[in-house]
Amino acid sequence: MGAVGYDVERIRKDFPILSRELPGGRPLVYLDSGNSSQKPQVVIDAMRDHMMWHYGNVGRALHALGTESTDAYEGARDKVAAFIGAPSRDEVVFTKNASEAINLVAYSFGNPGVADERFRVGPGDEIVISEMEHHSNIVPWQLLAQRTGATLRWFPVTDEGRLDVSGLDELVTDRTKIVSIAHQSNVLGTVNDVAPVLARARQFGALVMLDASQSVPHQPVDVAALDVDFFAFTGHKMVGPSGIGVLWGRAELLDAMPPFLGGGEMIEAVWMDRSTFAPVPHKFEAGTPPIVEAVGLGAAIDYLTSVGMEQIKAHEKDLVTYALEARREFPGLRVIGPRDTVARGGTVSFTIDGIHPHDVGQILDDVYGIAVRVGHHCARPLHLRFGIPATTRASFYLYNTTAEIDALVRGLHHVRKVFG
């Protein structure tokens, strides 16, 4: 078992929190990285070091600290650009999180200040998402539809938890302005094949956005190879800090889009009655940005790169293979999502007959120190589609082990005993 040369015990030592005990002497079993990941010492150190020795405001302070801070902040942008294969560093916009990145793009549509035909939206036009989206890739598009009179449509999900593209030709048409779907589902673990959707959208000049919050932390990505238009993800799910996210977009599109938030450093010149704006990416970074968080994200990317994204992907595949095998010995356990490991990440959501997920999660935590997520995981429509109010979700990352999956299975047997 295990990706070749992958030393998970050594990796675990890089994450101080994984060695802590919970009250009552319970060792921590952290299976909630799809929610938010833990941080390695190098990320903690990089942020601390920046605050201790280099901190100043970026872009506007001319003194030595301002220069050092600006170099570190812009250096993080370079790292992000290289990590996702962005053709240009100026296409990398720092946001607060992935939600803000998606809202930023949605705001650009149907905006009176935008002349570009591709961003004009009104009654008769359509926005296409999918039933497996996180609320952050649903609600901004609902708001856009309400604001402009456009129609929101969506891909259904198959019983196996795959994107149902059988109605693609009917769904993506000359009325479609943008298609925005998850690269990888936060509940099902499904990794979506973007190519057919993209090809169809291109036929009609519709733009394509990927919510990559769950893919960037877990597999190598290359936005140029994916050939999409927009790409959003967040720092805290990829061993970086919370408070920083990324929007990548094609430069010519970002240029055509209106500013999202107005404020300091996003301008070129300001008069009392009007302003002109800075070139991208700064046009979209109003106010003092998350400087220390950007430094932390840069350190996270260095760390992930040093481990190797292919290795991380292979390790997670081993874990999910092991977990899907283990669930067979557990009658009444229903996996919501693919039961095979093809085009699938390390997220396993499930229900257990007759036991509510909140009770499952509570006992796993109280008795065994196992952290899973319970509820609808900000994907309520997906749960409605499967006719269930909630699921229990175990999500794996580079530091998880098969022993932790064994602990989860032991915990679930105990849950069954309490409620049996």
Binding site: H356, P357, H358, Q362, D366, G375, P389, V418, F419
Partner: protein
């Protein structure tokens, strides 16, 4: 948290199912976890004649509805509202509040839930629905 009494009520809920006649019916949900309860009350003067309910959710929310049925059916409105107040005080006490067992009866079994802020709303769901239904029946 999972007292025997709670598990017992969860596995064998008392008075479950919506019944006629009733004065008011309310539907309450817990938006963070999707737990829900539909509750009907039948009141005559100051007497609670029946409290019937249906719902779905975790053991805490469903057992709370069952215990509530037992404590309220056949009691006076005034007494049951005193239980609601004491139960609410206990649940919002972050585990620092001494439970008044004389008022609470079997509902004292939920005292441990108060130490888990994320679960307090589960325990309170049925009780808030009951209070809502009774108040509406009085107007």
């Amino acid at each position: 948290m999972y007292q025997e009494l709670i598990l017992e009520h969860y596995k064998h809920p008392q008075g479950r199912g919506l019944r006629e006649p009733f004065d008011t019916e309310v539907h309450h949900v817990n938006p963070t976890c999707g737990d829900e309860v539909t509750m009907r009350v039948k009141v005559d003067g100051d007497q609670v004649l029946d409290v019937s309910y249906d719902g779905q959710g975790c053991s805490i929310s469903q057992a709370a509805a069952s215990v509530l049925h037992e404590l309220t059916t056949g009691a006076t409105v005034e007494k049951t509202l005193a239980v609601v107040d004491e139960f609410t005080r206990l649940m919002q006490g972050r585990g620092q509040v001494e439970a008044n067992e004389d008022v609470l009866g079997d509902a004292v079994a939920f005292a441990g839930v108060a130490k888990f802020p994320a679960r307090v709303k589960c325990a309170l769901l049925a009780w808030m629905a009951y209070k809502d239904a009774v108040v509406r029946s009085q107007v």
